[in-house]
Assembly symmetry: D3
Homo-oligomer: 320 residues x 6
């Protein structure tokens, strides 16, 4: 696929000749009963609304969420927000080999650097059983899927490689906590950090738009991770029962409270540290994203965010 400028950098009046992913697609009708297609189109940088007023019958059935289309048009403004005026729309030729992945938001961190950090943490593990377990659960194929996954559908680290970025933050926080408290079993805590969201790669689908899988909604990522870890432990001879129980406890309790969908509350020193390290990484990232993506440009406050029942303040302090 040839190079194309990020949509987010274009301004009112700029021309568009882009491959874009369909993020939303609805057949609507004007009050005069004339049908039209209301779309949201985007690349990895941003998504814009666009309406298709005519001549869409031949491709209507292809305009599904997650599909990629080739669009010519121009950037306009509507109610202070940019929108895309479509002049021509068509499907890419198969020969153009368009990958959906190209259009998904992704981590700003360098992937190879993150991968290196992650495997280094495995190699630092002194407990032989845990090391074997981590190497098994993060073999090449599993790591490929794990490392591609977002950490959530929307709230925090909701981008390709987001789960890996999030996991690395927690690992670093946990290692810092271990310097404060020698009573912490560092190997166990770091292994728990690595595996706590392992079930997210099954709970979410992230080939095109991010969403929950059926399995994810029926079982949840906490139990999905526990089943996988249990299966892997069965394959490791003489894996200590005590170690297994405490590791599974870390995964099960890492959301800290029953009402957060953890079936048990943290009952070990490592479990309480993991829970709060996860919260610290997740919520800080989420607030940063909410502030960065806020569309309310005129105001120092974001729009009301129902998940946290408040607005956030965007004004930066100049260091003086």
């Amino acid at each position: 696929m040839k190079f194309q400028t990020d949509l987010a950098t274009l301004k009112k009046g700029d021309r568009v000749d882009h491959f874009l992913m369909i993020r939303r697609s609805e057949l609507k009708q004007t009050k005069a009963n004339k049908p039209f297609v209301s779309l949201e189109l985007g690349d990895k940088s941003v998504s814009l609304p666009a309406n298709l007023w005519d001549n869409f019958n031949s491709i209507l059935s292809e305009l599904t969420v997650g599909a990629v289309v080739q669009v010519e048009g121009v950037i306009e403004e509507y109610q202070n927000s940019p929108q895309l005026k479509i002049e021509n729309i068509k499907l890419p030729k198969p020969s153009e080999n368009i990958s959906a992945e190209f259009f998904l938001p992704r981590s700003k961190r360098n992937f190879e650097e993150m991968k290196h950090e992650f495997y280094e943490s495995i190699s630092e593990t002194e407990n032989g059983y845990l090391k074997k377990l981590l190497n098994s659960l993060f073999d090449d194929k599993s790591f490929e899927k794990f490392s591609k996954a977002p950490a959530g559908k929307q709230w925090h680290h909701a981008y390709i490689h987001g789960l890996l970025e999030h996991t690395l933050e927690i690992i670093k926080i946990c290692k810092l906590m271990a310097t404060f408290h020698e009573e912490i079993n560092k190997d166990l805590l770091v292994a728990g950090a690595m595996l706590h969201d392992y079930g997210k790669m099954e709970e979410l689908v992230f080939d095109s738009a991010f969403d929950y899988s059926d399995k994810g909604k029926l079982l949840g990522h906490i139990v999905l991770a526990s089943l996988k870890v249990n299966e892997a432990i069965i394959e490791i001879p003489e894996f200590p029962e005590e170690l297994k129980n405490q590791l599974l406890h870390l995964i099960l309790s890492h959301q800290g409270k029953l009402e957060n969908a953890s079936p048990v509350v943290p009952r070990t020193l490592e479990a309480i540290a993991l829970y709060h390290a996860d919260e610290l990484s997740a919520q800080t990232n989420a607030y940063k994203s909410a502030i960065a993506s806020d569309v309310n440009a005129q105001s120092d406050w974001t729009k009301y965010i129902s998940l946290i029942s408040t607005q956030l303040y965007k004004k930066e302090i100049l260091n003086q």
Copy 2:
């Protein structure tokens, strides 16, 4: 072991010459600094308080919770409640072959009848995969443990065979619900009923006094059941993924709410029916037990029960 009258049937002044299980044992001291042992001793019918004032040094270390002792003495009354005055206490001879199980409270239902009902339900299952799975999870050895377990430490069906009795009640309620709604998948719902508390046999210890196991406190019976069911399904060729997910969903969601330690809420028709069938069986049994075991003999009201934040009313209506 020779026959002995149930403790619950004895009255003030009656002689005791019984094997009894120690339910509580504490070394205390009178204000005058004289040590004594405060005990609770019982058979399967009831437990009574008793103090050991003298000559206990030689057997003190054996007076642990769950141990069985041979006691001679007499029933007295103290503050309107019966207590046991110990005149002689000794350890049973190994040759007497005392089984702790004899002293545990047990279901009033006939065990063979319950077992028959249970296996009949398995044999009625039409879905071949579920039938295989049930036969595997309830093979002779597993059923022996499952059928012996109580359904709880204290609150409901807290007696030997209680889990089986509770499971049978739910099965019947679920079958009745299936007659109301043809949309219910009866095989799936009944299998869910049979397996919903399967993890209790690992979560609880019930060889002597009932308590939670370490594993039970760290993982919880819901996840313990899920791990076991998952392991058994792996052994059944071509077990359908969809069936597995819906069955695991029944187990995971059967406590109905996140704050009740279910990691997912009920999201299928069978799941909502199972949740409320479980509640109906459990709470009705629990209230019956709380009323039956209340010691507040003078009053029409039980003592305040903190688990349900209320007293219960004991007065029976005469049918007229």
Copy 3:
């Protein structure tokens, strides 16, 4: 009224010549300031949206919710959902004798069978005072109203005869519970089951569209039932005070928790059984209805249901 095919069985392109009830009626305006009427029209099987673009001034004042109109037109599709294109609309002639009741959703169970079951339960009552009370509260006139009522406005058994169907389910569940526990006073429990929602026939209006009455919003069906039962008991000589209090307690506590609008929590064995039997019947019916009526045809999941804060899973398991 002549026979007419159920609306739910018609497909795109089918002609309509039907009497239909108005379920929603709003005067709107196009952006070009042209007024039109936005309607929802239905029979007992389903409701469809329809717009009236012209010539409605003469009948506008009659287009009120609950009124019945005669419509000619055709079934169309709009955004994947069926809608009704109106070609002609008029009011029925008085001589046509249209009953609003014909257009309301109704129980699928046979009414005479349900009525028979219900009175059989009364006749089985052994307690003479309760039997007298039930016969008084369910005399012909009261039973006619009671048996016609839905059990709710929307959530469960929300159709004509729904309250009767719901009550019969609970009666059966309660009788099953009485087979488990001889401590249950079966007459009292069954009488409580029969009367627990007696106030719903005053709390709801169900002559045309279902809604709450003023009295229902100010007093609630629990208190409305208590007032009626109290009035009836006053008329029965020597009705035992104890029996009255326990029966009223069943009605008052049947929603189980203060936050569910029960002014007292269940404090008797019968009360706890009734509460959970009610939940079991109500929630299972509600989930079935929510799944059956979901319009999200493309997906295995219903739309998000705010009352239960979740989506439901619709995929059926094939028995294999």
Copy 4:
């Protein structure tokens, strides 16, 4: 009964020759197995602990809560708190005609003044139906019981005439609110104030020690009042249905929230005013009592009060 000094005014070393009511009575045993009776004895001013070490067998069965005994002894101090050393105890002769009521705590306000204020409010009522209803519900016999009742077992206005004192406070607050808002129906609001706790005279027993009645625990004072008001309204010809519903709504909603045991929340202007007027009167009285009766004499803070999950501050500000 001859005059006797209030117990609360006696100091360490003072002689006692008093009729006193038994507030608590328990048969206990010393560690040396010697039985004794642990009592709490009081007049209307205060209650003190006292132990009966010997010679109590002949009167033991009479030492029940609420009974009155004649005691000779002396005031002592034990752990910074006064207690009563009993030298002689006996039952009063029937000829002494001891009334239990004499020993109960009572309002400090003048009863005749309160009664006058109360009937004046009835006579000010302009709405004829409400006036009839109030005169019926507060006829001589009912007023005698109503005016004697406490407003609670322990928390607020928990003394003889407390319900009347509390009701008068609310009436005054409501009349003040009516001066702020002409939209308030003053007659309706004041009638609601008078009747809101009418059920307390059945919910509580207050002949000797204050406690809940069986009926009170099964039905609650809110429903008890509603039943009585409904019965009285039936006797008044043409009492308007609308007025009845709004008046019952005031009673039912006066605890403001479902979780406070109101089966409906306030939905009228009068209902919201009554709810908060009740809270203001009740909580202020409760905090005053909690501070006044605190035994923690050394500290500026009361002991922790679990009902409000806090301690209260007792230090008074001197006006300067």
Copy 5:
């Protein structure tokens, strides 16, 4: 500014030639892509919707919320609600000297009377330190701002002088409470009443449309008041530490519960009285306003009010 009739008194067909404040202003587009301005215009009596279809480009940038415009047109009806048809719109000439304040809703009470009542309460204060403090915090300049402020953005006393009106109600309620309980320190309680919402004048902006200030959202009116009172106390020589702490406690705890944003709960007699007096004044006013401003004219019930999760009943009882 010349006299103009209140908008609220105009009916369908009446001519308009008014200065009006813009309460909402959005640039929209018809489905045919034609832009128009959707406005809400009002005076102090009411606000009406209005659309501007043409010729607005020259003044578009001035049509901001809070601005005042001069409008000619006519009152029309749309969906049973009045709206304003604009025939001509222009900006006022600077010479016309239009004050935004004129267009804000304001208290119906006479301002001078309220001011007099307020200062009378200060002059009645006997405690010299409190009197000095009140005179300092309510000097002419501060009182001008304080007395102009509304007590809230929307819910209660949300109009110019609303904070003063609300404060006076609480003062009267508190003085009534002091007649019930001599233990109340009246000077302290009344000073607390006067200052409890002192921070509202910084938390809110009320020059044109009412809203929260940045500072208000970051610190809240409770802390803003505490900072100001603390600053003023520092300037008063020998202000007693104890008095300062109890006064600040009244301000901090006046919302009664942590979840209401009070950082401490009421722990003194005055604090509990102030909390409930505030609730009584605020909620009664809020319900009155919600009923008065309800637009649902056909119904006896207001629309659903999400803040209190219910509808309110509007039907008045005729005194008979």
Copy 6:
């Protein structure tokens, strides 16, 4: 004061000749009416129970909590726990110059190292206003008090220098978070970390036993800190209003939720990071302390801890 071995290192039978602080003191009575003093005595390492049976009248009035006494005796065991048998007890001579501080638990970290780390963080601050503010609030006198304070009465870092140790942990966590997110204003966040619990030195008293001050209970440490920071900012010329508001916001919101006594919720990126960094440091330290101080030596589980509604698991995993 001469050297004395830590009480925690003594075993059954060891002689004691120690200065010890009184942690609890109650005058009790044996059942035989003989008075005795029940004490808890400790040094900085541990506290032990001890009874004083005779000859205490002359010093009884001096045996107050927080006082230091000189004790001779021997270590005994009672119910598996050590206790102290007192043979002789007397008050220290004034000349012995006993400092209460010596007996308080204290941080295990080196104080000078902590002090150095703390001031280094101040000196790293680039924002001139914040640096001035920190230097003012942590001048020598204030730092002496601040650095001595515990971070809580019981739950976390409840020892001398605990507040400093806790603050340093948070500073490090915050600095790590700033490496993840360049959007974080590091100076502001670190200043917030330093000041978030500044009010604890006024909220707590820690000269002898740790407790809350009157001021602490009436105002809370969050507001106490805000008042102090506000006073200091007034003294710094041209301190930016925006910076002040955001800094105060960090202090006010650092407990994250209204129900945790924060009067505002976190609304900036720095605020959310500070809240979770505080939780992470506090809870991990608290769980470590709860495990370390658990007296339940026989079990792998601590006793039930009501603050967190659970037991904790103490078993350590051996690294293999």
